[in-house]
């Protein structure tokens, strides 16, 4: 059951987006988020939406695959939507019992949930089209200036990419230990919150033990292959901007300028 999480996974395909430099994709995601939250009327929203659909088409990732990623946060979306719907004051449209829906509430609820959905799909395109390693490389390069003020950028990005590598392994391991304890009569489903938390001990202790053992093994394996921090390291796939990336930057600039010009006019 735990294996079906698709949020934040890489989807191998051959597309323009897959071959872009991760820095371009990081930057464009940032721009996309800014414009998404700056869009406060239908026209601007339409521009964001059309752009998103264009990008989805370009990514060659099946749309159904992206929607699957939303499954895990459906509850969150519904709760956020309901809160907005019922708890925003304004001109009352419908009311029953103690609930009332206002015009502002309805608008906010629709805007809020659609923003969330677009935000998640938009950012998931970044992770779907970029390998975890490229992503951390991109972050390491983009945030390289922080090294000057003593932030260990290389170490952090190394930790991130190792974490990403081990997430599926640990998920599988959780599944296995859970089954093994269930075979010994453990119960992970029933009972109150405290009882449930207590029942997690037989799952969490072995999981931590295993994580530490793996960390220990991995540190030996890394040392054995001459790992010695970021100093003097070279790269097999160094980040280099191509003409494709330049064109992408021009597109992003055009999109941003266009968006804010429209926003200024309206």
């Amino acid at each position: 059951m735990l294996r079906e999480i698709t949020l934040g996974q890489y989807y191998p395909a051959d597309s323009v987006l897959h071959s872009l430099d991760p820095r371009v994709k990081l930057f464009s995601t940032l721009v996309f988020i800014i414009t998404l939250f700056a869009a406060n009327n239908v026209v601007l929203f339409a521009i964001v939406l059309v752009t998103l659909f264009g990008i989805i088409r370009m990514s060659h990732v099946p749309f159904s695959f992206m929607v699957k990623g939303l499954k895990s946060i459906v509850m969150l979306l519904i709760i956020a939507g309901l809160f907005n719907l019922f708890l925003t004051p304004g001109r009352t449209l419908v009311s029953f019992w103690i609930f009332s829906i206002s015009d502002v509430g309805l608008k906010n609820a629709v805007l809020m949930t659609s923003r969330m959905i677009i935000l998640i799909i938009g950012t998931s395109i970044l992770t779907l089209t970029t390998t975890p390693n490229q992503l951390t490389d991109g972050l390491e390069k983009s945030l390289g200036f922080l090294k000057k003020v003593g932030v260990p950028v290389h170490e952090i990005s190394m930790m991130m990419s190792i974490a990403l590598r081990f997430i599926p392994i640990l998920i599988e391991e959780t599944d296995k230990i859970m089954k093994a304890q269930m075979a010994r009569g453990a119960d992970f489903e029933t009972g109150g919150l405290i009882k449930k938390a207590k029942n997690m001990v037989p799952l969490l202790v072995p999981l931590f033990v295993s994580a530490f053992r793996r960390a220990n093994d991995l540190s030996y394996a890394m040392e054995a292959r001459c790992y010695n921090g970021g100093e003097g390291r070279t790269k097999m796939k160094p980040l280099k901007y191509s003409s494709l990336d330049q064109r992408a930057y021009i597109c992003i600039a055009a999109y941003t300028i266009g968006f804010f010009v429209v926003k200024g006019i309206l």
Partner: protein, 590 residues
């Protein structure tokens, strides 16, 4: 000049208390002297805790000697100046395939080493390509390691070392966690490196079959090298190896037993071919040429099928992963089986044949997508059926069961199952005592933390945790995975003892034919989610040629008997254990 030269090498693990005072000293290496010449294929044998892994870590400068010296290609490993040069010269591959792959894409992982030593970009690309091609993994270069099998991951790890262009490669039990297919692939890759690229190989293992082809063997025990020589010299002394809880290949053991019984054979036989040639030479007059092509398939002794004897019935059970999506995988395909009370069953099949999925159905951890399962006449998918009760009736010991230990003491951990059954404290304690007694764990460990035990002891404690629930059916999924020969024999002996004493129904999942043939009464062979053979070991192994096609093999002795038969000796071919083969050959030659 020797590539590796150890002189009076000593390593001590020192345990200190909180104030930094020495609490205990454990001598892991005790004055080891050893030389390895460039281009050799060396094997180091020894059971768990013999110091072989500690020695391997020295060659890679991951550990430094407490006393004595170790030179790798003329560099002293104790000298910090050479640390990285040593690691480049002698690369290391570890046991667990998952815990040594750093990157999320195969080629990026292979590039990790060269990147660390600052190789220019263009050269890294050619090195990675070359290294992946050497181990036959080039076509997987942009795959995620999580999607690869264990054997493939190990070959990626070997490529990762080769990309650093070392002179020597050390493999620390690289096949311990793999299935037979994966083992064969990894070994073949290593032999190719040795023969074609002239790389010095140091293979640490406890699988004797892997050692036969090496140039020189060191056997370690208690931190000392206690035997060394060519494989033929080492395997000559079967009794001495047995005393030190080490194995010999089945053929060697058979030849040794025959020789002891007075058969005229050379002192050490390593392969099937050697045994056949020796018998032909000395006993050629017994060969009968007129023998027809009649194959003797053993007769099937199917007993009357009395439905009341069946403890479990599987009726047209199918299981699909993610049904209805493009990821749909059929793991079980219309399986119908009867399991009788008191049977000892072995289920064999290669990785992905559906054997683990099958056994997880038996205690309701997985619910079938189609078909029904009956336990003592009751449908376990019935709404009113208590599935948690079934789990205590059908006990399941998973692969690497020691990974589920969590309590502060061994005793409490074993109590966990009975506690969940809702038994009172007194009964819980009684059950735990009994179970720990049955698995033969010494009493001094009952109150120790489970994490302080050795590998074999941990496994016993974990098995006790399941037995304490007094299940009527006991399922064990690869109970011997990762253990050394002694640990393996102990655990299997224990299981078979329990079966005999308590009359439990036992189901043993395994991919080792030798293990299964020695103990079980019935074998079910799984392939593609279906049982393809079902019968006594003799019946099943008679199909040894078909078994090979699905990635399995009969025990070595079955091959020996078939070789003899094909050469014209008048023997029956249905022997599945060394003992049976010995009797059969003795009958023939005497």
């Amino acid at each position: 000049m020797s590539i590796i030269r150890a002189k009076e090498l000593v390593h001590e693990y020192i345990r200190r208390d909180e104030e930094g005072n020495v609490e205990a000293i454990q001598v892991a290496l005790d004055h080891v002297n050893l030389n390895v010449e460039p281009g050799q294929f060396i094997s180091i044998l020894g059971h768990n805790g013999s110091g072989k892994s500690t020695f391997a870590k020295h060659i890679n400068a991951l550990l430094t000697p407490s006393e004595g010296t170790l030179y790798v290609d003329g560099m002293n490993v104790s000298d910090d100046e050479y640390t990285f040069a040593v690691r480049q010269t002698a690369g290391m591959v570890f046991q667990n395939p998952d815990n040594q792959i750093i990157a999320s894409v195969v080629d990026e992982d292979v590039a990790f080493g060269p990147e660390n030593i600052g190789v220019p970009t263009e050269q890294i690309i050619t090195r990675v390509e070359k290294a992946l091609k050497m181990v036959g993994m080039y076509k997987y270069k942009s795959h995620s390691p999580n999607k690869l099998s264990g054997g493939q991951k190990q070959r990626v790890a070997i490529a990762g070392v080769m990309a650093m262009e070392p002179k020597c490669i050390i493999l620390d039990e690289p096949t311990a966690m793999l299935d037979p297919d994966g083992r064969a692939d990894v070994l073949q890759a290593v032999h190719t490196l040795n023969k074609e690229k002239g790389i010095t190989v140091i293979l640490i293992t406890h699988y004797m079959e892997e050692v036969v082809d090496s140039d020189y063997v060191f056997v370690m025990e208690k931190g000392k090298v206690f035997m060394e020589g060519k494989p033929r010299e080492i395997f000559k002394d079967v009794d001495l190896l047995k005393q030190h809880s080490l194995d010999v290949p089945q053929v060697t053991l058979l030849a040794h037993e025959l020789r002891k019984a007075g058969v005229n054979l050379p002192e050490c036989v390593l392969t099937r071919k050697e045994l056949l040639e020796a018998l032909k030479e000395n006993y050629g007059h017994l060969i009968r040429t007129q023998l027809g092509g009649k194959l003797d398939f053993p007769e099937s002794h199917k007993k009357q099928n009395n439905p009341a004897d069946n403890v479990m019935i599987l009726d047209h059970v199918s299981y699909k992963y993610s049904p209805g999506t493009s990821y749909e995988v059929t793991a079980l395909d219309d399986v119908s089986l009867n399991i009788k009370e008191g049977e000892f069953i072995g289920i064999i099949g290669h990785t992905g044949s559906g054997k683990s999925t099958l056994v997880q159905h038996l205690n309701g951890l997985i619910k079938s997508t189609e078909g029904s399962i009956y336990y003592r006449g009751q449908d376990i998918y019935d709404k009113d059926y208590d599935i948690r009760d079934l789990r205590t009736q059908v006990g399941m010991v998973f692969q690497y069961p020691e990974h589920q230990l969590f309590e502060t003491t061994v005793f409490k951990d074993v109590q966990f199952g009975p506690k969940n059954q809702g038994l009172d404290e007194k009964e819980q304690i009684k059950r735990a005592y009994e179970a720990l007694g049955l698995v033969g764990l010494p009493e001094e460990f009952y109150l120790a933390s489970p994490f302080e035990l050795s590998g074999g002891q941990k496994r016993r404690a974990a098995i006790a945790g399941v037995i304490a629930m007094k299940p009527a059916v006991l399922i064990l999924d690869e109970p011997t995975a990762g253990l050394d020969p002694k640990g393996r024999d102990d655990i299997l002996g224990l299981i078979s003892d329990m079966h005999e004493k308590r009359g439990d129904t036992v189901i043993l999942v395994s991919h080792s034919m030798e293990d299964v043939a020695n103990y079980v009464d019935r074998i079910i062979v799984m392939d593609g989610g279906k049982p393809v053979y079902d019968g006594t070991p003799k019946e099943v192994f008679a199909h040894y040629k078909e078994l090979e096609k699905i990635g399995l093999a009969a025990p070595q002795v079955t091959y020996v008997m078939n070789d003899l038969k094909a050469a014209g000796f008048d023997v029956k071919t249905d022997a599945t254990t060394v003992e049976e083969a010995k009797e059969e050959i003795l009958c023939c030659v005497k």
